[in-house]
């Protein structure tokens, strides 16, 4: 209760009843949306890549601009030409996260899949495993461990401290912050939209005209959430690229 308004508790906003299945394999709205997102991001790339017309139209246009964006905007800026072999991984990551996020803005659905920690946590663990495997494969286990934990040019006296911080960084902080960043941004946006929607409804019931101001803000915030959905997908992908690139080429 704030100013006489009854806000729903968070569990009412993000928890959905089970549709079918039980236990760990129960399927609810969020899981269904995740499957649909995977199908959409697969279908766009599959249909877009099937014809390979010289002058792209329709779906092929979307697919090609996404590939261009990943290659020029993310990989070339962070990893260099060596990283181009990671285009499929990063492209999948980007399109999947973007479609998962954008569900929060689709009227009638309005539930970003990444507003539950499960999917961001899984994706972060995937990236975590990926950059360790890439590092070990391209540098060898001992050299990778050394280059990842001992930055060059550190004075001997503070080396143990730096070593511990870097070790904690590559093992815990990186995946944790990846997962929490995506999750917290999406759930914060979702709660913001819910708050303003509840406010609009209450003011409409009470005064009929008073809802105009919060409604205008709600429209503005929806536009802002589209930006956030895109930006968080971009940031997750670019951080994955930076981590993989760092594991591939050690700093000198």
């Amino acid at each position: 209760m704030i100013f006489g308004l009854e806000f729903p508790p968070i569990s009412h906003v993000v928890e959905w009843p089970t549709l079918f299945g039980d236990g760990a394999f129960a399927v609810n709205k969020v899981v269904l949306l995740m499957w649909i997102s995977a199908a959409i991001s697969f279908a766009v790339m599959f249909i877009g890549g099937r014809k390979r017309a010289l002058v792209p139209t329709g779906t092929q246009n979307v697919a090609e601009s996404a590939v261009d964006f990943i290659q020029d905007g993310i990989i070339m800026e962070t990893m260099g030409p060596d990283g181009l072999k990671f285009t499929p991984f990063l492209l999948t990551l980007f399109t999947f996260i973007l479609t998962c996020n954008i569900w929060g803005l689709i009227p009638g659905v309005q539930m970003p899949v990444n507003a539950r920690i499960a999917l961001p946590a899984f994706l972060a663990i995937l990236v975590w495993a990926m950059y360790h495997v890439v590092g070990i494969k391209s540098q060898g286990p001992i050299k990778y461990f050394k280059s990842a934990t001992i930055p060059p040019g550190v004075p001997k006296a503070i080396l143990p401290l730096v070593f511990l911080i870097e070790l904690l960084g590559i093992l815990v902080t990186r995946p944790l912050s990846l997962a929490v960043r995506l999750f917290a941004n999406l759930i914060a946006g979702h709660l913001l939209l819910v708050t303003f929607a509840v406010l609009c409804q209450a003011l409409f019931d009470a005064t009929k005209v008073g809802f105009v101001l919060p409604f205008a803000l709600l429209v503005f915030l929806s536009a802002f959430e589209i930006l956030v959905a895109f930006l968080q997908a971009y940031i997750f992908t670019i951080l994955a690229a930076v981590y993989i690139g760092g594991a591939m080429h050690p700093e000198h």
């Binding site: 800026e77 962070t78 912050s177 929490v180 960043r181 999750f183 917290a184 670019i238 930076v242």
Partner: protein
């Protein structure tokens, strides 16, 4: 004073203190990153204004810097959910 209130309604006091604690956790966690993001973006704008041809590279690095700085505020945000009375 607190004990007097606690005698009257212990459950409500606890709920109220939890709410205050949540507010303090998120508010405290937002101070540093707020300043930090300001510095990052401000310097990125200076760099872009000085050298518009490097704007693309600066923008990418700026988003990276924002992402790293923002993480602490988001930890605070999540922690404020975890705190319960």
């Amino acid at each position: 004073m607190l004990q007097l209130l606690a005698q009257q309604d212990p459950g409500e006091l606890e709920a109220g203190l939890t709410a205050v604690g949540r507010g303090i956790v998120y508010g405290g966690a937002a101070i540093g990153p707020g300043i930090g993001i300001g510095i990052v973006v401000g310097n990125a704008i200076t760099a872009m204004a000085r050298q518009p041809e490097a704007a693309g590279m600066v923008r990418t690095t700026m988003f990276l810097g924002i992402a790293f700085t923002e993480a602490l505020a988001l930890f605070g945000f999540v922690l404020s959910f975890i705190i319960s009375g």
